[in-house]
């Protein structure tokens, strides 16, 4: 395994860090307080080519490979303090664009991908329901054929980007007798008859990424809204989750690196009892633990990218990486607050926002408990 990057990849990383610091962080504290999404930041990221990174050039993308894409998301995590914006972009790129790219018809790819890559449209992905979270086989939303149309009934909840979305990828059951193998994916635009978007949902963190319910009241979709084959929804959903996990984790990696550097600088300059606080072992040890978590996280993530690039099966590795990086990001936030003492607890310094944002990582894209279940299964337990 060789995890060295080319000069071009490193230049891209440096360029994205500079861009993110300059263009994405202004006014964040106010946006966090008011739960406001930055459409301007979104457009700037699209103009930088971030939203199109791994997608084919013919659909407005850049044809970037897995490692380059991860490195770009890592750079964004390092330079951009607006975790909600990064989360919203990831939600679109991996859970909307990727399924369309992998399973869409040529017509669907042509219709949706160029606008999504260019930031002209925003995408949302609906899977979770009020009574179905981790257990995707318990979906209650149904899709039935009526003539040349599909009729959707049900409610999707925790839908990131829903209040601002133009394009939706949604999963419903078309054959309950087939359990999770009876799921089917659909892609369609806002404005379809019978689709109602609920009020924005307030959250503990990631407040700059808007979220709402989607309510389908005999919602009529045209026959060409089918995404992939009928009954192939589990496959469509799983493929997007693998990308989503990897790339969301990459942004945690960048954020942890930035946090460690900030803490080291503080520990070297903040003096108590006539010496820098970093000279006290209890503080230094926290920073060492942050460093060890950062580097082990990096190895897990790059190894996952290496396996995916080689076309190897990576179920266990993806679960280990998701579990370890999301838990490490939470612990890194707690340590950063502790190292900064009273200042760390104050909103002005941003560490409490990072902590609120980080908690979500233990829940979305498969909870830490589900990742442990997957690993246990792979151990034959």
């Amino acid at each position: 395994m060789d995890f060295s990057f080319t000069p071009e990849q490193l230049a891209l990383r440096a360029e994205l860090v500079k861009f993110a610091r300059r263009e994405l962080n202004e006014g964040l504290a106010d946006r966090d307080r008011s739960h406001a999404f930055s459409r301007e930041g979104w457009s700037r990221c699209a103009a930088m080519g971030i939203l199109g990174l791994p997608f084919p050039k013919e659909y407005g993308g850049s044809d970037a490979d897995v490692l380059t894409t991860l490195l770009a998301m890592e750079a964004l995590g390092y330079g951009c303090r607006d975790s909600g914006l990064i989360f919203a972009m990831n939600a679109q790129m991996w859970a909307v664009q990727t399924p369309i790219w992998n399973f869409g018809t040529d017509e669907q790819k042509r219709r949706y991908l160029p606008r999504l890559c260019a930031g002209q449209s925003i995408g949302a992905h609906g899977m979770s329901e009020p009574d179905s979270g981790s257990d995707s086989s318990a979906l209650a939303t149904t899709a039935t054929r009526r003539g040349d149309r599909w009729i959707l009934k049900g409610t999707k909840t925790f839908v990131t980007n829903a209040p601002i979305a133009d394009v939706f990828v949604v999963f419903a059951t078309t054959d309950r007798s087939r359990g999770f193998m009876g799921l089917t994916g659909f892609v369609f635009e806002k404005g379809v008859k019978g689709l109602r978007i609920g009020n924005p949902i307030e959250k503990m963190g990631l407040r700059t990424s808007p979220m709402a319910e989607l309510i389908f009241e005999d919602c009529e979709l045209p026959s060409d809204a089918l995404l992939g084959r009928e009954g192939g929804g589990a496959e469509v959903f799983s493929s997007s989750m693998e990308w989503e996990r990897g790339c969301l984790l990459a942004s945690y990696l960048g954020a942890m690196e930035h946090q460690l550097e900030t803490c080291v600088e503080y520990a070297r300059t903040r003096r108590q009892f006539q010496r820098p606080i970093g000279k006290f072992q209890s503080v230094a040890n926290k920073l060492v633990d942050m460093k060890v978590r950062l580097e082990t996280s990096r190895l897990l993530l790059y190894r996952l990218a290496w396996l995916k690039t080689a076309g190897r099966e990576a179920v266990t590795d993806a679960a280990i990486a998701k579990l370890y990086l999301s838990e490490s990001w939470v612990q890194s936030c707690l340590d950063a607050i502790q190292v900064h003492g009273g200042y760390g607890y104050m909103s002005e310094f941003g560490f409490e926002r990072d902590l609120r944002d980080s908690i979500a990582g233990r829940i979305y894209s498969g909870t830490s408990e589900i990742q442990r279940n997957i690993i246990a299964t792979q151990l034959g337990l």
């Binding site: 257990d135 086989s137 359990g179 193998m181 009876g182 589990a234 299964t377």
Partner: protein
């Protein structure tokens, strides 16, 4: 149908997914009853691959191969003929 293959799969399903039961009828819909769900399919396929020495592809993951014990057994036996 190889009864030995079907018995081994049956015993695995009972031991792993239906602890409160002693048997699963060969024609019972395992997907509709939730005996096999999206997590369980991972465990089942890992078991089948290791025990019967083949590698399942994405195209194999369809209800026609996993809805009943009979279908799973037939799917495993087809692997030997590939």
């Amino acid at each position: 149908m190889n009864p030995e293959v079907q018995r081994e799969i049956h015993d695995f399903l009972v031991a792993e997914f239906a602890l409160e039961r002693t048997s699963i009828p060969a024609g019972e819909n395992l997907l509709a009853t939730g005996i096999i769900d999206s997590m369980g399919i991972l465990r089942l396929v890992t078991f089948l691959e290791e025990r019967f020495g083949f590698e399942a592809s994405d195209e194999d993951m369809v209800p026609e191969n996993f809805t009943t014990l009979e279908m799973i057994s037939a799917f495993v036996e087809r692997q030997g003929k590939r």
